[in-house]
């Protein structure tokens, strides 16, 4: 009864549990909401609730060179890293989906590892490695974001492939289609929701990535989250930061709506 229907509840739980749940949602979402609302404030400093509405801090955001270029870099990075991660992860998922055994298990673990691996260590390892072999800031960042995004795509594509009927591929091949034609004409049209949601996930993860980017950005080549962080650290809470944050939140909401339109939200909650 562990679906906690009314008859399964301990006495008193009927009130306490929903209260804790509502409180949990408040403290999880509240801080984000406050930043987004404050971004529309016409005042010079952080006031909550704002006395009026204005877009002055968004205008200011796009007027500042460092903010604008950080935003642009984050977008480019997220687009390229998500696309590369989706390709790599789809290859890995296709190669591993029908394999059993210890080696396949280890490889799956490897492609999922960045999900739980302390990414700050990955950032440090990459920084040292790049310094030693000489990798530029931009390709270095792309690679790091690909690594961090790949597990999301891998899991998403793998889930799609697990319910894919591989006799369809065999049918395609017996009719004379090569492996590429089979993939693009038979497999991809069936598994595309997994590929698409994987791409979105990787994009979002890359757009907010902090721990690896912390070490890998450089002067003039900074991502938006790192730019927000250094502003907060060295110049205090300014409303242009709230505007930067609100832009990030807005972009994510747009992407969530796009996922809902394209593949449905149920897929999101499962992955």
């Amino acid at each position: 009864m562990m679906k906690p229907g009314k008859r399964g509840r301990a006495p008193g739980a009927a009130l306490v549990l929903p209260a804790i749940t509502i409180l949990a949602y408040l403290v999880i979402i509240g801080p984000i909401a406050i930043v987004v609302i404050a971004a529309f404030s016409p005042t010079e400093f952080f006031v909550f609730p704002p006395p009026g509405l204005s877009l002055r801090w968004f205008v200011e955001f796009f007027r500042l060179d460092n903010m604008r270029s950080a935003f642009a870099l984050s977008l480019e990075l997220a687009l390229s890293a998500a696309s590369l991660a989706t390709i790599l992860a789809s290859m890995a998922a296709l190669a591993l989906v029908r394999r059993r055994g210890a080696l396949a298990g280890v490889l799956q673990g490897l492609f999922l590892a960045p999900l739980v691996f302390p990414t700050i260590i990955l950032g440090l390892a990459l920084l040292l490695f790049y310094k030693t072999v000489g990798v530029g800031i931009l390709p270095g960042l792309v690679l790091a974001h690909v690594l961090v995004g790949t597990p999301y795509c891998f899991r998403s594509v793998l889930t799609s492939l697990q319910s894919f009927d591989f006799t369809l591929e065999e049918a395609g091949q017996s009719l004379g289609a090569g492996p590429f034609r089979t993939f693009f004409l038979v497999t991809l049209p069936v598994i595309w929701p997994g590929v698409v949601s994987g791409w979105f996930f990787a994009f979002i993860v890359s757009f907010g990535e902090l721990n690896t980017a912390l070490f890998l950005t450089g002067p003039g080549e900074t991502t938006l989250p790192i730019e927000i962080f250094s502003y907060l650290q060295f110049q205090g809470s300014q409303l242009v930061i709230a505007a930067a944050s609100a832009l990030q939140v807005g972009l994510i909401l747009v992407l969530i709506l796009a996922i809902e339109r394209l593949v449905g939200l149920a897929r999101l909650a499962r992955s």
Partner: protein, 282 residues
């Protein structure tokens, strides 16, 4: 032919992961076994001195202890609150449950720097809470919670709580109702049913939630820095400070200390909860 195609598919992602994930980590470990150097990335000759220093130096010791205490506090609070919320959500009808879960996924997608900023704005001396409480006459001096470990606990707890809730809610939702009904038919009351049926069957969700919260707490540099300030440094802050000081071997050794702590904690959590037992394995 099929095998060859599989290998060709596997090779590119595998090479990227070996070349840019496994390889650099091994190199980092190699660097951690050297002395620091002024002119080079690391000095000549092998030494375990970096690790010895971390384990014996009282400064490092204090920060290790603080990291452990803070992490355990976050873990305990998130487990209790997360379980309560997950229990409520798992009992909702499917459509509303999905809505509640998506509402939790959305904050996870927002960068942690934005979420930590929200808490800075809330908890600061002239922040939203301080102002509101003073206007209401509840306090007469500004709140001094920002830049303490309490602020770090509050911030990280709320940032990571969705992982715990989603993990446990999914585990709870997949439990077969028949088990509970059988226990009830055999005369078990609600408390006993919860302790002997629901709780053990939800242990995979508890284990994955705890693992995520623990591991993400350990590497949450930005949140720790923004909310804890210079007085509440954690292990992860030392890694960063090592990099800023260009002391690569020391930073590397600290990073592997962090990794060892993470692996140890993961092993303890898995051994204590034995989540695989629910699936009939182990």
């Amino acid at each position: 032919m099929r095998k060859l195609a599989g290998l060709a598919l596997l090779l590119p992602p595998l090479l990227v992961f070996l070349g840019f994930f496994v390889g650099p980590l091994l190199y980092l470990f190699y660097v951690s076994l050297h002395a620091s150097s002024q002119s080079e990335l690391y000095g000549a000759g092998f030494t375990a001195a970096n690790y010895a220093a971390i384990l014996t130096d009282p400064f490092y010791r204090r920060i290790l202890e603080r990291t452990l205490a803070t992490t355990l506090e976050i873990l305990g609070l998130s487990l209790v609150i997360g379980y309560a919320a997950a229990f409520t959500i798992a009992g909702l009808p499917p459509r509303r449950r999905l809505f509640c879960l998506v509402l939790l996924l959305f904050p996870l997608m927002v960068s942690n720097v934005v979420r930590a900023y929200g808490w800075v704005a809330l908890l600061g001396r002239r922040g939203v809470l301080s102002t509101a409480l003073r206007d209401a006459g509840i306090i007469d001096r500004p709140l001094t919670i920002l830049y303490t470990t309490d602020a770090v606990v509050i911030g990280l707890l709320t940032i990571l709580l969705p992982y715990m809730i989603i993990s446990i809610a999914n585990a709870l939702a997949s439990i077969d109702r028949a088990y509970g009904e059988a226990a009830q038919a055999l005369g078990a009351g609600p408390v006993r049913r919860f302790l002997h049926v629901t709780l053990p069957l939800s242990s995979p969700g508890i284990a994955s939630g705890m693992l995520l919260v623990f591991l993400l707490t350990l590497s949450a540099y930005v949140t720790v820095t923004l909310l804890g300030g210079p007085q509440s440094k954690m292990l992860v802050s030392l890694v960063y400070d090592g990099v800023v000081a260009f002391d690569w071997p020391r930073a590397a050794a600290l990073a592997f200390t962090l990794l060892a702590a993470a692996l140890l904690a993961a092993a303890i959590i898995l051994a204590a909860l034995r989540p695989r037992r629910v699936a009939g394995r182990g």
